[in-house]
Symmetry: none
Subunit: 418 residues, 2 copies
């Protein structure tokens, strides 16, 4: 089955937003063994949309459109797609009722133009939207499938995961299973070289990629049954583990913060945070994880030296002698927040995220992570090597390193106990 | 002049990387008054590339390709584009020399396959690459322009800025200017209905869209000069202001956190935060803004009731009588952090982000924002109406409301003073 993805919307065409839906869908479809030949973006223009959709339907088995399902007059995805596929749009009373309740729950009366979203293709499949008002839908004709999904990622992703994947699984044969091997502290090309022999395999395939300062491997197996595919992935992951085991922190698609929360829950321990340059980013990432309140209760954002001293007990001599961006300050911040909170672990970050504030000696992208635990304090120096314009990246990578220090602590202890 | 952008490369097609080049180029081209009708992504497949480029050249005045200029055998952008445009590829000795020096400077001998990058279209324009080995180039024929640029953003962006922009400026007339009107507290369809008459205008055009729980309008004017276009936008924004002025928080493309930092800086005031359900998200967003340390020094993440009581001074009777998710607790948290920090404003959030913890009475998506200032405390109740799977959204919207309360405070005061 070959596929193409069409993003609809002038905001995409003019570059107001980046087409992250296309990336998400491409990766998910590829992992299901669906071959993608083209992606397009087209604006809210009836003629060009018609031309684009017609071409796509003529050359691809599966066409997925994202966006243009909104309530306003320039949202035309359903109208034009159904015209091309020869399907009629009919009002679905139960969807209309659902949209009304959505607004009622917010204490608002449904604006009349939202009724437009309750029209779906006759004889098609409807995908429920748990996070918005626009349902998705699919039309099938002459062996071709056309799927329409809402543009906002928080609506599209759960809909694709829960509704579209099972729909597509029924229409493709066999099973394709993908597993992710996540590493920290090794570059993509270094990782790729160390597992080079595995990259040539045809089934499972092993593909390296880099994301947000981490290097990942995607292992994908095709088989008749889920069990076979799962076993094939597992045996390849074992081979990867032999090569780069010490860098791997997850093989279950869990990110750093999810891994941290899992490890803390398992051990019944808690962490407290004192953040300077990351300014709440670590706290935000930990509390992204549902249930994190069990293991994280206490965070301080100490953007000024005054707060570092008064609240966290960083000594004024330390700040004077070593400055606020130093291993010594990081250590005292971590110890301070651990003491103050009574948590098992104290983690701190102090650094220079940019764009300003850097020097030759202490450049933008430098940070120190403090990690205080029963029996000691460790400090990790991080240098991202990125300069101006990299504030977000520098903050993200500092936060990642902070999370990773805690994972490393658990991994080292587990290693010793075994 | 209408344009389309083609991204070449299997890594884009499979979603390994997001197509940020397309977003960058689209935004730059739109600001130059070049209309973009289509964007595509195609893999490193000769036949599909040929089809895609041929279609593009037939329907667009300007076609820009990104990627596929590398040294390996699957990099085919130049070969296929020149074939479609009927141009011959010839070796340029001076470029070859440049590529050799690039490697020499790094202490490496040029790999032989890099010589492929020194071939350029006969009679075309060459764009120098200051950050890599692949030069860009342009071919013109029968009034059509085809431009090829390297894929890596750090090579593409400076090349576009310094080489391609002047090249294009010589070939286009007129100016297009876009302005963004950002609102908070009104839905996209409600907003669209209130400014419905303006949405029909041809020049400037006014287009509504929704992003991250906010509703925006894009106003775009075409004119001979920058001044004319600017005046046309401004007069349309005035008309929008008459309809929905109280919801507008920015007409300068600034987001909520940028607006907050700007207003605080301007007034010389500081804010402190006490976050429960948002868990550091507001702090993270404020510190995303460079220079925020001037106005934000102190944040507390108080995920447990113990921290709310001990550190922030929330009364145990308040927690017992009203629970931690209540207007009363929010008010005491905001007052507590304002007192503790000595900041001018204290902002707090307490709520239920999900997936768990909701009840009929206090559902997931409910939060209370406390706002303490000299002379009073306000509380805003937020109900996102979203349930499970919406933790990120609920947290984001709670944080947005917290930021918006501060903006509203400033706006109301400015209103009174006038």
């Amino acid at each position: 089955m070959n596929c193409e993805i069409i993003g609809v919307g002038t905001e995409l065409l003019l570059g107001d937003i980046v087409n992250s839906d296309a990336q998400y869908l491409a990766r998910e479809l590829a992992s299901m063994g669906i071959v993608i030949h083209y992606q397009e973006v087209v604006g809210d223009n009836p003629e060009r949309m018609r031309a684009c959709i017609s071409t796509a339907v003529s050359r691809s088995d599966l066409v997925i459109l994202t966006g243009g399902l909104g309530p306003t007059a320039d949202d035309l995805t359903k109208e034009i797609s159904c015209e091309v596929m020869g399907a009629e749009l009919v009002l679905d009373e139960s969807i209309l009722e659902g949209i009304r309740s959505y607004f009622t729950a917010k204490g608002i009366v449904m604006p009349e133009n939202n009724a437009k979203q309750a029209y779906v293709p006759a004889g098609g499949t409807v995908f429920a939207n748990r996070n918005g008002t626009a349902p998705g839908c699919a039309v099938e004709k002459d062996g071709k499938i056309l799927i329409m999904l809402p543009g906002p990622p928080r609506e599209l992703k759960p809909m694709f995961e829960h509704e579209v994947k099972p729909f597509l699984a029924n229409r493709t044969g066999g099973i394709i299973l993908s597993r992710q091997v996540r590493t920290f502290g090794i570059g993509e090309s270094d990782m790729a070289q160390r597992v080079a022999l595995l990259l040539d395999g045809a089934n499972p395939t092993v593909a390296p990629y880099a994301k947000d300062g981490e290097a990942l491997l995607r292992v994908t197996a095709k088989a008749e049954t889920y069990e076979q595919a799962s076993e094939m992935c597992e045996s390849t992951i074992e081979k990867i583990r032999e090569k780069i085991g010490s860098y791997i922190y997850s093989t279950d698609s869990e990110n750093l913060e999810e891994t941290v929360v899992k490890l803390l829950k398992k051990s019944g321990k808690k962490v407290a945070l004192a953040e300077s340059c990351t300014g709440g980013y670590i706290a935000k990432r930990i509390t992204d994880v549902p249930g994190s309140s069990e293991v994280f209760e206490y965070g301080i954002v100490s953007y000024s030296n005054e707060v570092k001293q008064k609240l966290l007990g960083v000594k004024s001599e330390t700040l004077e002698e070593y400055t606020e961006v130093s291993a010594q300050t990081a250590a005292e911040m971590a110890e301070g927040v651990r003491r103050l909170s009574g948590a098992d672990f104290g983690i701190s970050v102090t650094g220079i995220s940019g764009p300003g504030g850097g020097s030759d000696d202490k450049p933008v992208g430098l940070s120190y992570i403090g990690f205080a635990y029963e029996g000691g304090t460790q400090v990790r120096e991080v240098r991202t090597g990125k300069k101006e314009d990299s504030r977000e990246y520098n903050r993200y990578v500092s936060a990642s390193n902070a999370l990773h220090m805690l994972i490393q602590y658990f991994n080292e202890r587990t290693g010793k106990e075994e």
